[in-house]
């Protein structure tokens, strides 16, 4: 809910010529879109390239985005089309042949019907990131952990979280920030060293 407002603001800025605003959207959705495309394009390195292509296509198609749907729904459609076209050009078939829309793609994701093939490096990295994030989460004080979980997993707004946790909204904002800040601090060494290992 709060997500959509942020996306709209960023899209508006991007449409007005602010490339950096679009990059913020990319940073936000790169993993989600990448994961989706990975379902079609099984090789991780290829999938990443196709994801990049999809974002570029989305950037070029921005003038056509009028805000009728949510940004990520629109982005997903572009992602799927990009993936399918890529496979067609290579003479490969997509896992399912008939029309495919964003909702169906997500449904497939949840049902785990599409299999992913990832490189060992990628897999290791993502496992490490997930491990650090989850361990850090467990180490947090209860109220910080609860606030972040309600926000990120349950998708509640600050106001809803304030009601659930019986505290002022300002406290919710502060707890979520402190949780993120603490986890990010633990992630930083991992991300820094990884950047040094370019393949």
């Amino acid at each position: 809910m709060g997500d959509r407002e942020v996306d709209e603001q960023l899209v508006e800025r991007a449409q007005a010529g602010d490339k950096h605003a679009f990059e913020l959207l990319v940073a936000k959705y790169q993993r989600r879109l990448g994961r989706l495309i990975n379902r079609f394009v099984r090789d991780s390195a290829e999938a990443e390239d196709v994801t990049q292509d999809a974002f570029i296509k989305a950037y070029r198609a921005l003038p056509g985005f009028r805000g009728d749907s949510a940004f990520y729904t629109w982005l997903y459609r572009i992602g799927i089309n990009t993936a399918k076209n890529y496979l067609l050009a290579l003479g490969r078939r997509a896992p399912t042949s008939t029309h495919f829309d964003a909702e169906e793609a997500e449904a497939f994701e949840h049902a785990g019907l599409l299999h992913e093939v990832s490189t060992p490096e990628n897999e290791l990295m993502s496992k490490q990131v997930v491990a650090v994030v989850n361990e850090s989460l467990l180490q947090l004080p209860d109220d910080l952990r609860m606030a972040l979980t309600l926000r990120e997993i349950e998708g509640l707004s600050y106001e809803e979280i304030a009601t659930v946790m019986n505290c002022p909204i300002g406290t919710v904002r502060s707890r979520i920030f402190r949780a993120r800040d603490a986890i990010a601090a633990n992630l930083r060494p991992l991300l820094d060293t990884n950047e040094n290992q370019r393949w």
């Binding site: 709060g2 997500d3 959509r4 007005a16 010529g17 990049q52 950037y59 993502s126 997993i153 370019r198």
Partner: protein
């Protein structure tokens, strides 16, 4: 400032603050890093099986070579600080009754100071004094009280 990134990404800032944050994000690499990290944390919690390193940096290179898209579009302000005004329902009427009986403080009910002799000083009312009103008007123009809640900068100049 990073706290604002956290609130902004959740869509919990008002428009005016969000604009401010976006402007700062553009120039501040530490804030950009926070944006990346916080989103990574959320993704790691929700869908722990995909990670692409270095994506943003590589995308940045590609985006640089793209011509700038320019198709501005006016959209409706979402989280404006004044809410409750929609196109269809643009009028809202409030009715207040019995305002005089409202308690000021929960512990005590104050009394109206109708008896002047209970005050230490007995000021004269300036209702018929035009000269004094000039000063009051000049003063009211700058009254900080109206910064806080608006309502009639010249309320005392009108009610003499």
């Amino acid at each position: 400032m990073k706290q604002n990134i956290s609130a902004f990404m959740d869509g919990e800032l008002f428009e005016d603050e969000a604009d401010n944050v976006l402007s700062r994000l553009k120039k501040n690499s530490e804030l950009q890093q926070a944006w990346q990290e916080y989103h990574l944390i959320g993704d790691a919690l929700r869908q722990p099986d995909y990670f692409a390193n270095d994506f943003s940096a590589r995308f940045h290179q590609r985006l640089e070579t793209e011509p700038i898209v320019f198709a501005p579009r006016r959209r409706v302000m979402q989280k404006a600080r004044y809410f409750a005004v929609s196109a269809a329902a643009s009028m809202m009427a409030l009715a207040l009754v019995a305002w005089l009986s409202m308690q000021v403080d929960q512990e005590r009910t104050p009394q109206l100071a109708l008896a002047p002799q209970t005050l230490d000083i007995r000021p004269a009312s300036f209702s018929n004094n035009n000269e004094i009103n000039d000063y009051v008007m000049a003063h009211e123009e700058f009254s900080p009280t109206t910064d806080v809640h608006g309502v009639a900068s010249y309320i005392h100049s009108v009610h003499r």
